[in-house]
Amino acid sequence: MNRRLVLVAYLLVGLVALAVLAIIPGGEREEFDVAHEFELQPIVELPSIGPVDLSINKAVVYLWVTTAILVVLAVVIARSIKPVPSRFQYMMETIYDLARNGIVGSVMKSGQVTWFPYIAGAFFFVLVSNLIGLVPLPFAEHNQFGFYAATANLYVTLALALCTFLFTHYAGIRKNGFFRYFAGWAPSSAPPVLRQLILVIHAVSEAFRLVSLSVRLFANMLAGHAILGVFFAMALIFQSYLAALALQMGSVLIYLFEIFVAFIQAFIFAILSAVYIGGALDQEH
């Protein structure tokens, strides 16, 4: 009986709070534009060399933070390896095992030892870069806290995809020889005219791998951050605390989903890199 009364009291307090929230008008509408969050203003102005602008902006700082986290993590773990793993070491071993057996081991037929460092490096870099994008860091305008991910920038993901692209052909040429590698793009049993056509189609598909690999990561992170930004700014957009409260619950769900997406995108980037490099090493024809 007593517990029921307490429950009813809680319910009443909650309802009153909701009613009050519905009555109070929301905050003054400030100018809010999600696209503004992704503009890159230089933090430190540096002279540009030719067409290359060397100014330090948000994306550069995020890349530095990612690198620093990875280096510190690697050094700390390498120094403190024990036969009986601590909880932290066990977690890192699980992720390492995912990169080693889940990505490289399950996709590549040969060259696993040679190409594991690159693929694991790309995996960890994209993973950490995606995850720190979900932590508010004070690099937004006027040193405000804001969400940004280096991988939500097309140039960063394009550079990463270019690494995979170059390494794919480097691996294929080194293993098979220059002419044998490019001849291996089309089956040798096909008639000559058809073979040339297949070569052209294969070359186009190789070029589109570069586009899809970079745009996939970029668009996923950009879309995720844009949705998060819109949900967080709901109080400004709807000018009502009630709507804001309801939508904040949605934003928690989206935040959790974004953590999942950060993992999945790093996994997909690494596994597609492994597929491409493995395909160049072991040509089917």
């Binding site: 696209a35 889940g102 990505i103 399950s106 996709v107 899809s212 745009v215 996939r216 668009a219 996923n220 950009l222 879309a223 999945i264 996994f267 997909i268 596994i271 597609l272 597929v275």
Partner: protein, 76 residues
């Protein structure tokens, strides 16, 4: 209709229609993968890996539409 509203409309349509195909494809892909995992749980690791590769490739189609929508809104 002026150019600005046509742009916004085109962006919305490209996102909506462009995500239709990938959504159907993802549904088919994942349901088939789950079916085969249920049928042969001992190779679930391989199936999951290949499912993620397929998801990555299928999803890219929707993301092209997303990028075109962004270009329509912010660049064009």
């Amino acid at each position: 209709m002026d150019a600005e509203s046509a742009k916004l409309l085109a962006a919305g349509i490209s996102m909506g229609v462009g995500s239709l195909g990938p959504a159907l494809g993802l549904g088919m892909l994942i349901s088939k993968a789950l079916e085969s995992i249920a049928r042969q749980p001992e190779v679930s690791g391989d199936i999951r890996t290949n499912m993620f590769i397929g998801i990555g490739v299928t999803e890219a189609v929707a993301l092209y539409a997303f990028v075109i929508a962004l270009i329509l809104i912010f660049v064009a």
